[in-house]
């Protein structure tokens, strides 16, 4: 993992979503809330970013969706991680770790 694609930062949202779903199937709102909380509201997650990311990952086969019943007692679309999604998460996590380590090294180095 020595090369970083141009949309690497964009891809971090995908990684966070994948990470969120390791806890089990969730609907879109819950995913958004979890990410906001986990990052201590450091990220204001817009619906215009979250849902397109979900649909794209569904198309790629990283996520599966099914209709279920939400806490409101209403029909809601639940997303779950597929095997491909898990593999993606693993590789993204490793890439992120390498990337942030590299940035850190640069930041603490005396100029």
């Amino acid at each position: 993992m020595s090369r970083y694609p141009a949309d690497f930062l964009h891809g971090t949202l995908d990684t966070l979503i994948l990470k969120t779903l390791t806890g089990g199937p969730m609907h879109g709102y819950a995913i958004g809330r979890w990410i906001e909380e986990a990052t201590n509201c450091g990220l204001e997650l817009e619906e215009g970013s979250l849902y397109p990311a979900l649909y794209r990952m569904e198309k790629r086969g990283w996520l599966d969706a099914e209709w279920g019943t939400s806490e409101l007692g209403r029909r809601a679309k639940f997303y779950r991680l597929t095997r491909t999604g898990r593999q993606q998460l693993a590789s993204h996590t490793a890439a992120w770790a390498a990337f942030s380590a590299a940035v850190n090294r640069a930041l603490i180095k005396a100029v």
Binding site: G28, G48, Y51, P52, E58, S70, K77
Partner: protein, 884 residues
């Protein structure tokens, strides 16, 4: 995988708009609640939550993305299903290797044969020509009394000076050349051409240049252009040969150019070209017709305009030189069309026949598949019951037939690849461009189309059958009943009926060709070909230009050959029977006008000639050694010429003018003998007027006409001994003289019959393949019908039906579609055999005996194929049959 599929199909039930809308509505609901929980006014909370969806932009984006997602899934599912179907089809094929092998081989044979024939059709007829703008290259004909013929030098030159609609107007004449440097002297076939000949075809030379205008003049014409073939064979493909000098007819010629191999496909396949360089005397000759003329028409004129101009010039020629040209006209035809001519029909007929056989083969495989499907009706019913769609089942059946067809296609390509060289080798000589037939890209594309076509043809009926929904209970009820329940016999009966019709057409065509071949074989050619050997030599002008020297040389060779052991008789002839080529003269019988001349084939022979080929003398005498220059001028004619010249009167002692003398000054020769007509051009060609002159009495100029080239004809017991004798005698005269076209008369006869034999062989092969395939089809259908009705047969036999009754019942049931098919095929055959017309000899294309005979043979084969399983049914023990 399976879970994902199931989920997907559940989601699919919701249109994408609804999916997105519902998901976002749920989202807003939760967001609103959260805001209310935090103390925001409910009304405001709802507005705030909605605002985050950016006025419907998010919904629109998601709908778009969702659509893309669904499309991508559909594609992936389609591929998944295809993979599944292929796996299933492959398993099916592997579990029944016998069935698979039969189907693949049947299709392979059909596809292979069709591909091989198509590659020939493509090479000969369809492929673009090697020369530039083939649509503008025409052959020009000099027409005499409506018959197309060659050009005289005078006429050609007359046209050349006047023609305006042609960019180039060129002529050539085939000639043999002695090549006598670089080792063994060799006789090659070359062309004497006008200087613009190569330019006309627009093929640039591979090395060097083409001729220049000034080289096309006597004295400056000692230059030569080599063909690719000769250059490779004799000069080791060495480009440095350009500029060097080689010896042709014992005279040095400078090699100025080498043509690429595209040039080999044009016209008469000359191996080298020299400028024709007409002398002023030749240019004034209007009565020797031996030039072939070519036109490259101007871009801005039509072929009809060229033709019109040629006719106009011919009219003015007739006015300027009425003596020989009063009845002459001119015509042009596209060169490619002319050369392919007859082969176009022949090859397309062959292609149609082979396609019919492919259809018969497909019919058999379709039949096999239908039977297989019947055995699987239970499985198909279950599939349908658990939700497999109609389209899904059709696709699965079609995938299986496609797999079989692809395997068959691979087998077919192997067969085509292996059989094509054999086909080319077997084919008669002279089919233009045949040797260029390969499995080229267009041929492979056609093979692929054949594969797909056969897959559809083979799979469509079974696939359609499979979609017929029956109730589950009917199909599951009872193994035996299921067969009858889901598969009606008419489909398979339709197949064998169609096969019968197609095989009838192919078989009728083959039968007509076979009858023609037998007729040809049985037609006497009028002389004895056994034990006769012919060999040609030609004396170069450089040493033998003086007629006296040529005469002496031939006399010496003939005497040596005659004295050799193993040679019974030997003679010389300017043009031996069955060997092709030769010249003809206009003969004027005494008492007729010069316009009433009879065009007759000329033979200049030595006295023993008639003994050598056993040509019976009908009246008068043969030549003797006393018939020389200075003695009375004599002539022997054949019966056809005798009738044409003198009717029923006795021709002996009558006089005919020919070959010498000038208009108004006849040169009489007395007819001293009449010989029986012989078929000098093979049994299919009627005898034409022919005349014979004593070789030692012909005028000096005649030695130039023949190019001092004569055929040595010998009769003896052993070919090798005679060949040695001839070669020895020629070598003794001049060791640089090649002996060429050594051939027995039998070989000549075989060569002439090769075309007919080849077509007959191929058609018979195709027809018998079709017949066997159709018989197999009929057999399998009846066998299946019998298997289905075993119980019924048992009951009938238990109730006292005789074996005969059972056989009759079962065969009639199976033969009904065959008879109907035969009737249809009979009508089809009457229409189709017309295409064979010009390949038939002494049998009409609708010959009733052949057609009815073919139908009877077919019916007999079909009856046998049907009776066999029916008979087997009767061997069943009734009690066993009932218990089943």
């Amino acid at each position: 995988m399976t879970i994902r599929k199931r989920l997907r199909s559940l989601l699919w039930r919701v249109p994408i708009e609804q999916e997105v809308h519902e998901e976002l509505a749920h989202h807003i609901e939760l967001r609103t609640r959260e805001l209310i929980d935090r103390g925001v006014d409910p009304e405001e909370a709802r507005v705030l939550a909605r605002m985050r969806l950016e006025n419907g932009r998010v919904e629109a984006v998601l709908t778009q993305l969702g659509r893309q997602r669904n499309e991508s899934w559909a594609r992936r599912d389609w591929i998944d299903e295809l993979r599944q179907d292929l796996r299933f089809a492959w398993r099916q094929c592997r579990t029944r290797p016998g069935f698979t092998l039969a189907a693949v081989l049947t299709l392979g044979l059909g596809i292979g044969a069709t591909t091989a024939i198509f590659s020939v059709v493509h090479a000969v007829v369809l492929k673009p020509y090697a020369y530039a703008d083939p649509d503008r290259v025409l052959l020009a004909f000099s027409k005499w009394r409506g018959q197309r013929g060659s050009w005289s030098v005078g006429n050609f030159d007359y046209f050349r000076q006047r023609v305006t609609s042609a960019e180039d107007f060129a002529a050539d004449t085939g000639t043999s050349m002695n090549l006598s440097d670089n080792g063994e002297p060799e006789r090659i076939f070359g062309g004497r051409v006008t200087w613009n000949y190569h330019r006309l075809f627009g093929i640039p030379p591979a090395y060097g240049r083409t001729f220049r205008a000034e080289e096309d003049q006597p004295g400056r014409n000692k230059v030569v252009i080599l063909s690719d073939r000769l250059w490779r064979r004799r000069f080791g493909a060495d480009p440095a040969i350009v500029g060097r000098s080689i010896r042709i007819n014992n005279e040095p010629h400078d090699v100025v150019g080498i043509m690429p191999k595209e040039m080999d496909q044009i016209g008469d396949a000359a191996e080298a070209w020299v400028p024709i360089a007409f002398t002023p005397e030749q240019l004034a000759l209007y009565d020797e017709f031996y030039l072939t003329a070519y036109v490259r028409q101007r871009k801005d004129v039509t072929q009809q305009q060229v033709r019109d101009e040629f006719v106009r010039i011919a009219q003015s020629l007739a006015t300027d030189h009425p003596q020989l040209n009063r009845e002459r006209s001119a015509d042009v035809e596209l060169m490619s069309a002319f050369f392919v001519g007859d082969y176009r029909t022949r090859l397309f007929v062959l292609l149609a026949a082979v396609a019919l056989v492919l259809l018969i083969a497909c019919g058999n495989v379709a039949n096999l598949l239908l039977a297989r499907l019947a055995a699987r009706s239970r499985e198909l019913a279950i599939r349908a019951a658990i939700g497999a769609g109609r389209g899904r089942i059709v696709r699965q059946v079609l995938t299986e037939s496609l797999l079989l067809a692809v395997l068959g296609g691979v087998a077919g390509l192997a067969i085509a690849w292996w059989s094509l060289p054999a086909l080319i080798r077997l084919a008669p000589q002279g089919v233009p461009r045949l040797e260029t037939a390969t499995l080229s890209a267009p041929v492979l594309a056609t093979a692929m189309a054949l594969v797909i076509g056969s897959a559809l043809f083979v799979g469509l009926l079974p696939a359609w059958q499979a979609t017929r929904r029956t109730t589950l209970t009917e199909d599951l009820g009872d193994g035996k009943g299921a067969l009858g329940g889901s598969l009606k016999p008419w489909m398979r009966q339709l197949l064998i009926g169609a096969q019968a019709a197609m095989v009838m057409i192919v078989l009728a065509g083959a039968a007509l060709l076979v009858r023609s071949a037998i007729n040809l074989q049985q037609t006497p050619i009028g002389f004895d070909t056994r034990g006769v050997l012919t060999a040609r030599i030609a004396l170069p002008a450089a040493q033998y230009g003086e007629p006296a020297r040529a005469r002496a040389a031939y006399r010496q060779v003939l005497e040596r050959v005659q004295a050799s052991p193993g040679v019974k008789f030997a003679a010389l002839d300017s043009q031996a029977p069955l060997q092709g080529g030769g010249g003809s003269n206009g003969l004027i019988p005494e008492g007729k006008t010069e316009q009433e001349f009879i065009l007759s084939t000329s033979h200049f022979v030595t006295p023993d000639y008639f003994k050598v080929i056993n040509n019976p003398l009908k009246a008068g005498r043969v030549f003797t050694d006393a018939d020389i220059r200075g003695a009375e001028f004599v002539m022997i004619i054949n019966e056809t010429l005798a009738r044409a010249a003198f009717g029923d009167a006795n021709p002996i002692g009558k006089r005919i003018s020919c070959c010498e003398g000038k208009p108004g000054q006849p040169h009489w020769k007395t007819v001293v003998g009449v010989v029986a007509d012989i078929k000098t051009r093979g049994p299919a060609q009627p005898a034409t007027p022919e005349f014979f002159l004593p070789l030692m009495q012909i005028p000096d100029v005649a030695w130039t006409w023949t190019g001092r080239s004569l055929v040595i004809v010998t009769r003896g017991d052993d070919v090798t001994t005679m060949t040695t004798a001839i070669r020895g005698a020629v070598k003794e005269l001049d060791s640089t003289l090649p002996v060429f076209r050594v051939s027995t008369m039998e070989e000549g006869l075989r060569r002439i019959m090769a075309q007919a034999r080849f077509n007959t062989l191929l058609m018979s092969l195709l027809a018998s393949t079709g017949l066997v395939l159709a018989a197999l089809g009929i057999y399998s259908v009846i066998a299946w019908l019998v298997a289905q009705r075993t119980r019924e047969i048992g009951v009938r036999m238990a109730l006292g039906a005789s074996k005969r009754d059972v056989i009759r019942m079962m065969s009639i049931h199976g033969l009904k579609p065959v008879v109907i098919g035969l009737a249809v095929g009979f009508i089809g055959a009457i229409g189709a055999t017309r295409l064979l017309q010009n390949q038939l000899f002494e049998v009409g294309p609708r010959d009733p005996i052949t057609l009815v005979g073919t139908a009877i043979v077919l019916l007999m084969v079909a009856t046998a194929a049907a009776a066999l399983p029916a008979w087997r049914a009767t061997t069943i023990d009734p009690s066993t049959a009932l218990r089943e």
